[in-house]
């Protein structure tokens, strides 16, 4: 370990020298610095969030105001506005599909996990960079290529993929079935292939970095919960994304090379296709083997960020640190064995449905534990409502509301009625969509000073939070009623049925709320870009936090710490420790320096710590003597 620290000492000098030679391209574009790559993911993610949000506003216009003349959208949508000024029905399906794809993969996977795993892992574990900076750069650029291809697919003549974000075959395999299954679907598959490659490159890096590059003293039991969350997220992604790739590959074969993995007994467009023996349900199994873990890929980083933000701003240790880790581990493992609860009425064997119902409801337990731990962390804290803290509390609220409806949907008997209705839409938009989005925003507010050396404006943050928090509930809560009433998903209009020929007022309300909520995000955008250049200058540790990233300079260079990487002596949650002068003790403060606040078992560790420190300094002196 002593030699390792000396080696990193040397590289720090190297980095320092190189920094002045960085030109625009190596600094901002083909950067191998994890901090810059994190920012690249963030900006791309924000771009996609705007596109995804805009698409949802377009289809909410149709759902809330079906009779509205949309002629004014013709400059934007061209031929997708019909002659009578309506949104084209096929394009409506494409909008829904692309909204889902963009939000799940490009915003909440790449934009959330990509941003914060990259930015925070080396900073919080005390590493100079990711294990492989080059792979990390590739990861971003694969994502970029994927983004470009997906973006292009929005503008082609036959429209982007339109079979729902799950792209179930045969619909997604047959061009005759829907125009979006032509070139649009091809581009979707190519883009997703690059996306999967990007995720894997990133994931391998995150895992390797967390395992191998932790600074001295940073044992797994001293990792901030953010790192635990990113680590487990990467593990989930690494094990599940390849299965999506397999599913997509077989779909490519079915589409282009005449195989019958998913196709059987099909008569379409006036002809009987030769395919026999395939099974559409096989695709669903493969897809959801990624699709369900994907929910946790999206959610776990947000929960990790929340844990960190809530503990810091409650000025209290996170309650049940170990229980939090165990529940995240539980979620990680269980997330792989619940996928078929998306398929209770797909025609699969009902016995399988029973098994998956049991497994699914087990996963509710670790989730419940996490909620109770958050609540107890708030209890008797000394709460400071930074914008990040507000968004974290909002996240916990969504996690509860959306999580509880999961108990309905995980019960196969109840799911018969609710499957593919707006109840499901309400459920996942709250628990995974909005909760993860709030985690992303909380993370930006909290780590903005570290990213750009300036503070975001807090008051704009408050306005942004309250508009968004109320807005999200106004958008998604009414969907429960619509869902219980049986309104199916992905319907262009419900007036064709008597049971659903109602709630036009409620749908209008939802649409108005959605538009206001979307508009409120521009406050954030303004705050983000304005503060980047004109925001108040940040201090080194603006939230008076314990974690390592706040020990770096205000503008950390490539290599993060100008000198030696700091050593870690304690866990990251020593807030408001009885006896301590301040209400926080950073991880770099040795136990021996805080005899007044040490707990009995820590007092015993002091002796060990002093011995190690003595050895360390001896080794350092010896090395320096050698150098000179």
């Amino acid at each position: 370990m002593a030699t390792a620290s000396v080696a990193t000492h040397d590289t720090a000098h190297d980095h320092h020298d190189h920094e002045h030679h960085d030109n625009f391209v190596t600094k901002y574009i083909f950067s191998t610095d994890h901090k810059m790559i994190g920012k690249q993911f963030l900006v791309t993610g924000i771009f996609w969030a705007l596109i995804g949000g805009l698409l949802s506003v377009l289809f909410r216009l149709q759902l809330g105001f079906p009779d509205m003349n949309l002629e004014w959208l013709r400059p934007l949508l061209g031929g997708w506005i019909t002659e009578t000024g309506q949104l084209d029905q096929t394009f409506y399906l494409a909008l829904v599909t692309m909204h889902g794809t963009i939000m799940v993969f490009f915003v909440l996977t790449a934009g959330l996990s990509g941003t914060f795993s990259n930015f925070l892992i080396p900073l919080q574990i005390g590493a100079r960079d990711m294990a492989s900076g080059f792979m990390n750069m590739l990861s971003y650029w694969f994502f970029f290529i994927s983004s470009v291809i997906m973006f292009i697919s929005l503008f082609i003549k036959t429209g982007p993929a339109g079979g729902g974000w799950v792209v179930y075959p045969p619909l997604s395999a047959l061009e005759q079935a829907i125009p979006g299954s032509g070139l649009g679907m091809t581009l979707w598959l190519i883009a997703m292939t690059f996306f999967i490659a990007s995720s894997l490159l990133g994931g391998i890096n995150y895992i390797t970095t967390v395992i191998n590059l932790r600074t001295k003293g940073m044992s797994f039991s001293r990792l901030p919960l953010t790192i635990w969350a990113f680590f487990l997220t990467a593990v989930i992604g690494l094990l599940s994304f390849p299965v999506l790739f397999a599913a997509a590959l077989l779909l490519v074969f079915d589409r282009s090379f005449g195989t019958s993995f998913y196709l059987s007994d099909i008569y379409i467009g006036g002809e009987a296709l030769p395919n026999t023996g395939g099974s559409p349900v096989l695709y669903q199994h493969l897809f959801w083997f990624l699709g369900h873990p994907e929910v946790y890929i999206v959610l776990l980083p947000a929960l990790g960020i929340t844990s960190e933000v809530i503990a810091t701003n409650s000025r209290k240790p996170i309650f049940g640190y170990k229980a939090m880790i165990i529940s995240m581990l539980g979620i990680t493992i269980l997330s792989f064995i619940v996928w078929a609860h998306h398929m209770f009425v797909s025609g699969m064997n009902p016995f399988l449905g029973s098994i998956f119902m049991f497994l699914t409801l087990i996963i509710a337990i670790p989730s419940a534990v996490k909620v109770f731990n958050y609540l107890t962390t708030l209890w008797r804290g000394n709460l400071i409502f930074t914008p990040a803290m507000l968004f974290s509390i909002g996240l916990v609220s969504f996690f509860i509301s959306g999580g509880l409806t999961g108990i309905f949907l995980g019960n196969s008997a109840i799911d018969i009625q609710l499957h593919d209705t707006y109840f499901v839409v309400a459920h996942f938009h709250l628990v995974m969509g909005s909760a993860s989005f709030f985690g992303l925003v909380a993370g930006v507010y909290h780590w903005f000073p570290k990213m750009f050396g300036r503070m975001m404006d807090a008051r704009l943050g408050y306005v942004h939070f309250w508009l968004t928090f109320v807005g999200v509930y106004m958008v998604f809560f009414p969907m429960h009623y619509i869902g219980i009433a049986g309104f199916p998903r992905r319907y262009y209009s419900w007036t064709g049925f008597e049971f659903s020929n109602m709630y036009t007022d409620l749908n209008m309300f939802v649409s108005v709320a959605a538009i206001i909520t979307f508009a409120a995000q521009f406050i954030f955008l303004f705050n983000f870009f304005y503060s980047m250049y004109r925001g108040r200058k940040a201090t080194q540790n603006p939230w008076r936090s314990n974690t390592l990233e706040w020990t770096t300079p205000i503008h950390p260079g490539h290599g993060n710490w100008p000198g030696e990487i700091p050593t870690v002596y304690r866990w990251p949650y020593d807030y408001s420790k009885p006896g301590a002068k301040e209400d926080f003790i950073p991880q770099t403060v040795p136990l021996s320096a805080t005899p007044e606040s040490n707990l009995p078992h820590e007092q015993e560790l002091v002796k060990l710590e002093l011995e190690i420190m003595k050895e360390e300094s001896e080794a350092l002196v010896a090395n320096e003597a050698k150098e000179s």
């Binding site: 000025r315 119902m357 008797r380 409502f385 109320v470 509930y473 049986g486 049925f497």
Partner: protein, 339 residues
């Protein structure tokens, strides 16, 4: 002109917002509040959580109660009563958790908002608490799962032998209905036999298909088990009969099924709801293309006697379209003609 005025208005509004923003920033710098740990906004935010709890919580409850009869669809099948019961039991259980956790989540911020003279309690863990709130949800969930599982097993059990069979085939963008006729056995089909006049691809060389007949409406008897045999011809569809609490995907190449017992005739439901126009409907709930939202079929539930009478009045495929009989064996043809 109108657009120009709006644009000017928007610009003015934005510049006012901008001015206010700059002024408040400067004021906060002058007052030095940007150096404080928590400003007056902390109190405002803490209070807003309480307001949110009362206002939005109140709104949710008011609307849920006011609209109950609207979003709660009447139940028209035996298992529907069971699953709805499960739904509302789950609603009660989760509702209690929802209310308690949210009261805590929004009261804590108010109660424990930052005060300079107070220090947060250092309370990192309590294993007893963790065990309690792992075990209690586990037990509650176990009860919910077991009741759900029992209902699910009953619903998905094989249909009684005497169940009335109805075949529903989904295609872009409609449902076709086939009845097995007097023998209650559906004839074979093969998707390769599909033609304009034989949209369901029925194999009329099969003896069982001779008495099969189509119907524009799904007519089923009240109080007797009905078995829907479901299939699809092109892409995935899903049969959804909301009042029957029935849903099952239609999968090309893999026939599926769902059986149930209707409990109220259409006429009874009309009287109950005081709506002479009421009909039971089937919709599609698996995205299937452009016309996904227009795959409507009507279900008519009638008294068993009426159903028997209706059965005898129906014309078979072969009677309706003798051209279908081309190429089938003479004996079969004779049988068909007699009927």
């Amino acid at each position: 002109m109108y657009g120009f005025l709006i644009a000017v208005g928007v610009v003015l509004l934005l510049s006012i917002v901008w001015m206010v923003y700059r002024i408040q920033t400067l004021v906060s710098v002058v007052k030095g509040s940007d150096k404080k740990i928590a400003t007056g906004s902390n109190k405002v935010n803490a209070f807003l959580f309480l307001v949110f709890l009362v206002a939005i919580g109140g709104l949710m409850f008011w609307y849920s109660i006011k609209e109950f009869h609207n979003y709660q669809l009447p139940i028209a099948s035996e298992h529907g009563a069971v699953t709805d019961n499960l739904f509302w039991v789950t609603m009660a259980v989760t509702g209690i958790v929802f209310i308690i956790t949210h009261i805590l989540l929004f009261i804590f911020p108010y109660k424990y908002q930052y005060k300079e003279d107070r220090k947060a309690s250092f309370y990192p863990e309590n294993n007893k608490l963790e065990v309690i709130w792992t075990a209690v949800p586990a037990v509650v969930l176990a009860i919910l799962v077991i009741t759900g599982w029992m209902a699910w097993s009953d619903i998905t059990a094989p249909a009684p032998e005497k169940a009335h069979v109805v075949e529903i085939m989904g295609y872009q963008f409609a449902w076709d209905i086939r009845y097995p006729g007097q023998d209650n056995v559906l004839g074979d089909y093969d998707y390769r036999l599909t033609t304009a006049i034989n949209p369901m691809g029925i194999d009329f060389t099969d003896q069982n298909s001779v008495d099969d007949f189509p119907s524009p409406v799904v007519v089923i008897p009240k109080g007797e088990p009905v078995l829907f045999k479901i299939r699809a011809r092109d892409v995935l569809h899903s049969v959804f009969a909301p009042h029957m609490r029935l849903k099952m995907d239609a999968v090309p190449g893999m026939p599926t099924r769902f059986w149930f017992v209707p409990t109220k005739t259409t006429a009874e439901m009309r009287a109950e709801l005081n709506d002479p126009e009421f009909v039971y409907e089937i919709a599609c709930t698996e995205i299937c293309g452009r016309g996904h939202n227009s795959m409507r079929r009507v279900i008519e539930v009638v008294e068993p006697e009426e159903y028997q009478k209706w059965l005898t009045e129906q014309k078979t495929f072969l009677q309706m379209n003798p051209a279908l009989a081309e190429g089938i064996e003479v004996e079969v043809k004779e049988v068909a003609e007699i009927q």
